[in-house]
């Protein structure tokens, strides 16, 4: 037992007791404790195991700078993995378990891995498991790796609340500098938001306990808070600014308690003041990872904030002037403190499962705790996120904020202003824009960096078990850039993202190569500054909110009719109806539509109006097909191409008047086609003479198709006499406009009827009833897919791919004859477009009695090494034909009708015969029957 709770001091409430357990043993703590501080107060030293060698570890830091004490924590029914013990506030009833350790951190059965460290150096896994194939070894290696275990049941209501907001001035950090800046700015009338990641304001003030402006820290902090709020400033505690993004967007994560998803503030700030402070960096010496070795500032933080004296015989090794103050503070709390100068002679930690003694040169001294510091490192992460530059300070042996990013300033320890009074003064000046005093510092440091070739195992990255020898090895193998060093050794890739390891790592590389530290440089600083849960990135965009679909006006009717619903091009649509198994239901519907009549909700079909004096020339340019010659009242099928000549969409165009067209593009392309039309309208045409209205949402479209379709229309007393195929007429239904279009996607006589969605229900009921009276009924999208495939009608994106041009589908006319310019025209006459081995759309017939081909199966050449000549794009059992049908894109397919080809799929081959794409009613007799 080394650590203990002292009688008084700290921000904890000694009157209240909190019960908790760690690795199965029960302990108590107080409100204001973290898991780590409570365990230290109970004399526990080993709080975790390292990632690779399963070395025992205690906390190095007291806040986000600790890479060692990671725990799975359960509270009631909620369990979270990988909670840093140093930042997890203690709650009554918590049960914590060290990650990466079994049965406990103190007795980990994989601890033996440490004996093999000689063979487990940097790159061990890459090199050892390369032959024959890494994937053979990966599963078992992955099983050994990883930290906490996920509780698969999840946590009820663990959903992040995401709020967009703005502020004039964001102050990051509620320590002395941040509070001073926020107060000065708020009192000067600025709209201030101050964020502090601890639950309480005050930052590092509790470590030393020195008075500010003559007041003890707690009183001074309370006064600042009051003044800031009185001046209209806002304060968020328990809130971490974890990323700075473009144009002043700062991401704030607000803690809302254990197992509650933090709130995300997307704060757009005009100006930000970075007062994030600084951390101690580790000293690099042999066995510097033993439990009991921690940062000087961590020792002071546990003392000042949590009332925990971390050891009784404390060795203190610091190369800065802050060591004196630390020693005084610890002695005053009852410890004996012995100081060591790490620059004078090599240090070594001695002990098996924790520090027992310190060797300094030739001498050995007993100690239960070693507080170490190799100097302060300003927290410049957010500065770098924002694009600020860093500069190296020889005086402070640290990277400091250099050229500022727009709208950001740094104050206090984050700016290298380590002395309290200087920091307070600087913060006030920066906040109000008054001139800064001359920079000065009482802080003194005798630089001390890792010494290559040193004895023993000297840890650089505690969690990932990267030692000085690994850095030396990386250098020998020429991974000398810090970015390569990081990825090769995983240095800085632990959950603290290099907060403890990066400086030592790059200094080690600098020393190995004999280069100055600033020349070696740092790795890139990226958000998030601290680990944040994935919930922050999705918020309520989960479940039905993750990828919400467009919904049909008639969905209630489809549900009532027993429709199975599926996603088709961003819409939730009926796939088939009724209780029969899927295959049977689809088959029955397809057959019904061929034999009597099918009714389809086709509402998602595009209804994009193009109007204006230049409308005709415009649609003629947009479409591959000639539209100019289309007469009012008539409809034409057309393809839309990309400028690369690839088929982008197919649909029909109706001409309402000389200066008025309606484009009915495919259901999934409405937004895309509208955007494409707007783009060509405004960039390349006169936008004052063409206007594009996407009216798709206003209309519901119901299609009646089949040999009985005309009789259904007559039964409803709808005009059908004057509507030949590929034309439309306007009528009135229930007092509102009705447009009847004769177009067919099934090959049978079809009527597409469009009414405002408010009238859809009445029309649907009337049509359905009339159809059912003739042995027909509703059909889903799946049956429609079968019907159109029987006719060889394409679905763009299914029967075409990113190379398919119109002539590959047999539409050769406009390519050869259209005189006017159109989108993609020139691309249809390149060497590629003229190649003889282009993949062309054909049909495939299977052998008598054989099953349908798998969609996606390849058509292959024969011989030892078959090569793909194309693939099956659509394949179905055709109920009306009583045999399977298929469409395929095959190299030179149009000239190969009748050829027998080999089909390959999942190592099995079959044969099929190339046919025309259309398998049913090739003469088109049914179209106008």
């Amino acid at each position: 037992m080394t650590g203990r709770r002292i009688e008084a001091g700290g921000l904890i409430d000694r009157a209240a007791r909190l019960n908790f357990s760690f690795d199965g043993r029960n302990y108590t703590g107080h409100p204001g404790d973290t898991l780590a501080s409570a365990l230290l107060a109970n004399g526990v030293r080993i709080l975790g195991r390292s990632f690779k060698y399963h070395r025992p570890r205690g906390p190095w830091g007291a806040w986000f700078d600790d890479p060692n004490a990671m725990m799975n924590v359960r509270l009631g029914r909620d369990e979270l993995p990988n909670c840093p013990a140093t930042t997890t506030a203690l709650v009554n009833g918590m049960s914590a378990r060290a990650v990466n350790a079994w049965p406990s951190a103190a007795h980990d059965i994989k601890g033996g891995l440490d004996l093999f460290h000689r063979w487990l150096g940097a790159g061990f896994y890459y090199k050892t498991f390369m032959w024959p194939n890494w994937h053979l070894f990966e599963p078992s290696i992955r099983k050994m790796a990883g930290l906490g275990a996920l509780e698969m049941s999840g946590i009820e209501g663990h959903v992040t609340d995401r709020v967009d907001d703005v502020c004039d001035l964001l102050v990051v950090g509620g320590g002395a500098a941040g509070l001073s800046a926020a107060r000065a700015a708020a009192e000067a009338g600025q709209g201030v938001l101050l964020v502090e990641d601890h639950p309480e304001l005050g930052g590092g003030l509790y470590r030393r306990g020195t008075p500010v402006d003559g007041q003890p820290p707690v009183a001074w902090v309370a006064e600042q808070r009051h003044a800031i709020e009185a001046a209209g400033g806002r304060i968020l505690t328990g809130t971490t600014a974890y990323g700075v993004y473009d144009h002043g967007l700062v991401a704030l994560s607000e803690d809302r308690g254990f197992a509650k998803a933090p709130r995300l503030w997307r704060m757009r700030v005009r100006r930000a003041i970075l007062a994030a402070g600084a951390t101690d960096r580790p000293l690099t010496f042999a066995n510097n990872d033993l439990p009991g070795i921690m940062a000087v500032e961590a020792g002071l933080e546990f003392l000042g904030r949590h009332g925990v004296l971390v050891g009784q015989k404390i060795a203190l090794a610091s190369n800065t002037s802050f060591g004196d103050l630390a020693a005084e503070r610890l002695e005053a709390a009852g410890a004996t403190v012995r100081r060591y100068d790490p620059t004078a002679r090599p240090l070594q930690g001695i002990g098996r499962k924790g520090l027992e003694a310190v060797r300094h040169g030739r001498y050995r001294y007993d100690a239960d705790v070693l507080l170490a510091s190799a100097g302060w490192t300003p927290l410049v992460h957010l500065w770098r996120h924002a694009g600020g530059k860093l500069r190296w300070s020889d005086a402070l042996s640290a990277f400091l904020p250099g050229d500022p990013p727009e709208g950001m300033a740094a104050v206090g320890a984050a700016n290298g202003t380590f002395d309290l009074d200087h920091a307070v003064e600087e913060a006030g000046c920066v906040a109000t824009g008054t001139p800064l005093p001359q920079p000065r510092t009482r802080y003194h440091i005798a630089p001390h960096w890792p010494e290559p070739g040193g004895e023993g195992r000297q840890w650089i990255d505690f969690q990932h078990d990267v030692t000085l020898k690994d850095v030396e090895q990386a250098a020998r193998e020429n991974y000398t850039s810090v970015e390569h060093l990081k990825r090769y050794t995983t240095l800085g890739m632990a959950s603290d993202q290099g907060k403890t390891s990066n400086m030592a790592g790059l200094a080690a590389m600098a020393a190995i190569q004999g280069r100055p530290i600033p020349e070696v440089g740092t790795t890139t600083f990226r958000p998030p500054f601290v680990p944040v849960p994935m919930e922050l990135y999705h918020g309520t965009n989960r479940g039905q909110q993750f990828h919400p679909l467009k919904r049909l006006a008639l969905e209630p009717q489809h549900r009532a009719a027993g429709a199975a619903l599926g996603e088709y091009g961003g819409w939730l649509r009926p796939a088939w109806y009724g209780e029969n198994p899927m295959t049977q239901a689809i088959r029955d519907e397809a057959l019904m539509a061929r034999q009597t009549v099918g009714v389809l909700d086709a509402s998602p079909l595009g209804k994009i109006e193009v109007m204006g004096p230049d409308a005709e020339a415009f649609v003629n340019f947009i479409y591959y097909n000639t539209i100019r010659t289309l007469k009012p009242g008539r409809i034409r099928y057309g393809l839309m191409l990309t400028e690369g000549g690839v088929v982008y969409d197919d649909g029909v165009i109706a001409r309402v008047a000389a200066d008025h067209f309606v484009i009915s593009c495919s259901s999934s392309h409405v937004d895309g086609v509208t955007a494409l039309l707007e783009s060509w309208r405004q960039d390349g045409n006169d936008p004052d003479r063409i206007f594009v209205h996407d009216c798709t949402a206003h209309w519901a479209t119901i299609t009646v198709t089949g040999p009985e379709a005309r009789r259904v229309m007559r039964a409803l007393d709808l005009p059908v006499q004057d509507v030949p195929h590929m034309s439309f007429c306007d009528a009135i239904f229930a007092g509102r406009p009705l447009r009847i279009a004769r177009v067919s996607f099934t090959g049978d006589t079809s009527y597409e009827m469009s009414v405002p969605t408010g009238s859809a229900l009445a029309l649907w009921q009337a049509v359905k009833e009339a159809a059912e009276g003739r042995g027909g009924g509703p059909i889903g999208v799946e049956a429609l897919s079968v019907l159109r495939a029987e006719k060889g009608y394409i679905m763009v994106g299914k029967d075409t791919d990113g190379e398919t041009m119109p002539h590959d589908l047999g539409f050769t006319g406009p390519r050869e004859k259209k005189k006017a310019a159109f989108v993609g025209d020139r691309s249809l006459h390149t060497a590629t477009a003229n190649a003889s081995d282009r993949r062309q759309l054909v049909g495939l017939a299977v052998e008598e009695g054989a099953p349908a081909l798998p969609t996606g199966a390849h058509i292959v050449t024969g011989g030892e090494r078959p090569a793909s000549q194309g693939y099956v794009t659509s394949s179905y059992d055709s109920p009306i034909l009583g045999r399977p049908i298929a469409m395929a894109l095959i190299a030179g397919g149009h000239a190969r009708l009748g050829e027998e080809v080999t089909i390959w799929h999942m190592d099995e081959t079959r044969s099929a015969t190339i046919t025309a794409a259309c398998a049913f009613d090739r003469q088109g007799a049914r179209l106008d029957a």
């Binding site: 709020v163 899927m582 969605t757």
Partner: protein, 172 residues
């Protein structure tokens, strides 16, 4: 293909989307919506032209959607098509939008969950991206807002608002 009907809640038909203290969301049915585009579209309506954060004070107004496009709400019956004389393209859109009224002092808090819409950042248009979709957002009185989405997105908006309220309602 699979049957996803259980994955998606059946669309709600109750016009009362939410009714809580300080937050009421109701679906309303405008008598007529007319989409009007043209060089002079912003001067084409006799109704007050509404940008952000202009206040709508009656049931008849024209929302400014673009440089050359407005949406008349409760306006006169117009012949759809190209009006060559006025140089206007006209389409009826009465059934194309779902219109919601948001009322109560917590409304602004709810809107902050959907995106940035600050009264101190004026804009000539009322179109924006909110709750992940294109919406028309305008002000109705001191704490009221109108929110229109394309009809097929009505359910998306309803469920988005309900998700925010059910997860975080107490804190909005």
């Amino acid at each position: 293909m699979r049957d996803d009907r259980l994955k998606w809640d059946a669309p709600a038909s109750d016009p009362k989307v939410l009714a809580q203290d300080g937050l009421h969301v109701t679906r309303v049915r405008p008598t007529r919506l007319t989409l009007i585009s043209g060089v002079q579209a912003r001067r084409a309506s006799a109704l007050p032209l509404i940008g952000w954060p202009d206040q709508v004070t009656s049931e008849q107004f024209a929302l400014c959607l673009r440089r050359d496009r407005i949406l008349e709400v409760g306006g006169p019956d117009r012949l759809p098509g190209w009006d060559a004389e006025a140089g206007l393209a006209i389409s009826e859109m009465t059934d194309g939008y779902a219109m919601f009224h948001l009322d109560g002092d917590r409304t602004l808090g709810l809107l902050k969950r959907g995106g940035v819409a600050r009264p101190d950042q004026p804009s000539p248009s009322v179109v924006r991206l909110m709750f992940g979709m294109d919406v028309l957002l305008y002000c109705r009185g001191a704490s009221g807002f109108g929110l229109c989405v394309p009809g097929p997105r009505a359910e998306t908006l309803r469920s988005a608002l309900r998700a925010h309220l059910s997860q975080h309602g107490a804190e909005i």
